[in-house]
Homo-oligomer: 412 residues x 2
Amino acid sequence: MIQVAIMGHGVVGSGVAKILTTHKKKLYSAIGEEVYIKKILDLREFPDSPLADRFTKDFDEILNDVEIRVVAEVMGGIHPAYDYTKLLLKAGKSVVTSNKELVATHGAELLAIAKEQNANYLFEASVGGGIPILRPISQCLVANNVHEIAGILNGTTNFILTKMIDDGMEFDSALKLAQQLGFAERNPAADVEGHDACRKICILASLASGRHVYPDNIHTEGITEITLSDVKYASSFNSVIKLIGDVKFLENGKLDIFVAPMIINRKSQLANIDNEFNGIMVRGDCTDDVVFYGKGAGSMPTASAVTADVIDCCKHLKARKYLFWADSNNENVLPYDESRTAVYLRLSSPDKDKAKDEVRELFGETTLLSVPNEPESEFAVVTGEFTVGEIKEKLGALKSADVLSCIRIGNL
Amino acid sequence: MIQVAIMGHGVVGSGVAKILTTHKKKLYSAIGEEVYIKKILDLREFPDSPLADRFTKDFDEILNDVEIRVVAEVMGGIHPAYDYTKLLLKAGKSVVTSNKELVATHGAELLAIAKEQNANYLFEASVGGGIPILRPISQCLVANNVHEIAGILNGTTNFILTKMIDDGMEFDSALKLAQQLGFAERNPAADVEGHDACRKICILASLASGRHVYPDNIHTEGITEITLSDVKYASSFNSVIKLIGDVKFLENGKLDIFVAPMIINRKSQLANIDNEFNGIMVRGDCTDDVVFYGKGAGSMPTASAVTADVIDCCKHLKARKYLFWADSNNENVLPYDESRTAVYLRLSSPDKDKAKDEVRELFGETTLLSVPNEPESEFAVVTGEFTVGEIKEKLGALKSADVLSCIRIGNL
């Protein structure tokens, strides 16, 4: 019998407890031993839970219990999860988590402590919820040089964009609907401003590059500025707008990494990933594009990924899984101004002909988009490829038109 | 330094040799040791290969070399791969392979020998080529009860169907094009008759159920009977025709497993997997649908999966990976006549009204499909759900119409 503890009995934690108690036979056959939940840490009371006798409010009861070998940290947030995880790893226990904020912020340090202690720190659930992605990248795709990872990493924003694209809803109404359906928090900033997606692309970039990429100074745009006009122009270009976390591993060793809305062709596998679903594309030099699709959040999908990590730790009590990256100071991150891309521009001008001429002078050949009932003073073009810095400069120099939207064109 | 051998220097084998020599740095950082190709077995001569000095025609040079710890068997076919693999495993060497025919036919026996010898027998590349699928199922989705696995498992047939659907090509022309482009063999039977897909769904079913499923008496239909008329009727039903390998894990412990063309809704993730690409959907009770997409064949994608297995063996020279299933005699396979499904029927009758009445009498409520320029004597319907045995019986009793096509409706 292997004894484990769960820290946090919220949406994910209660799911982990449920799977560990209802899937006993399946788990036994995977490990060859029973997994027993000895303690559940939560400040709240759960008198009606079938596991009511296992609850504790005292972290030390888990930390100091030598029989507890594996701990699932599903509290979320940095404090106290960070301190608890450090203490547990230093005590030689393995820790698994769905806490993307903690992994993105302190992953390198926690992985180093785990390595030192010959313990495991696993976090498959931190990216893509129930979608297997970290293990496939670190194990199955290990014989590839990965050129790029790009994904729809946030279900809330994908749901909102899908409603805008498919049903013509405005951003505000789509957000309200997402909140009603439980896909968005009452304070949706972390989702709609792209921070959640940023943590996830940083974890993927860290894993694939072997060096921690900190979210702090990664360019992060959300979807709050996207309008139905942009959606319609994109559609006329046989494309959809998706919020993409993207990292390209450049030949000079730099990472071109950012989170931004992107206009991607309908033929792309990522274009058809709709509603609250997530999808992650990994471009390897041997495999070409491999795409992983599924529910990126939710109690049971996320809990199933956490539980799979618990099982992996139980199978490797005395061995380390090869999941590791070194610390860094983001010196390998390409400045965003040097990132190359084509862009879609929506512009407003009292003299469209003059403005189009000026745009052509500044950007060279462009593709003019057109939609039915285009406002008289508005037009939209797709440019060729430039660096973001060059684009900013050109737009700064543009005199005869105002820039209403500027969105990256994705080659995904 | 870990010494390995490769048996076979064809499409996949030469790819493995290439990756092991060109990705040295990446592989070293994954294993912490160098991987050295000591021998390559092939009856042909490769005097211009940079590895020319490693070639041998004598299997015993590999078998009897105690320094060779891991062998990649990429010869294909049953003989002599089966005997060689047995001898190598019995000698305590780990073997990895892309040989789906061998795994589907003798997997249980070879896995048992590997277990006995504390060696590994891995075959990620046997299903889905470069797409990670066996490891995700056995590791990441281990906390799920898997209800169903369904996939587009054969790139050749998917390419042909895509050309029929998107470009209105007839089957014969699409097959010829596939042959010209190298997506189909000169003798395409194993692909177009569904046998290749059958081996793969059997491997997936064996892994997920823990008991070997032999391809021999699994219902296997190919795509040779699919016509452009069927494609058009499917399109009118907002659906496409795909060749699907499907296994449902029923509550009574039986496996409802088969390979057949299926009409699936365009909204399904599998519907958008086109051309030579493969896609596999795994339905778990916790994760819901997870889909894996990528190139299911080809030299480098397949070789990258074989190489990842080589690396895994190198990292586990003294430990076994938990990849195993027991032998069986297919007694847990549901007789195909008991498989439940709705079907699309295309029928021909001199008296369509009478025939439609009779169909309604036999099948109850049906949905009538219609396409532009429908032949005067032809019509098509979608029925409700019945067992295959019931459908056969009803069609046998049908007097006023001839059955031109009968295709399963997929709920994927």
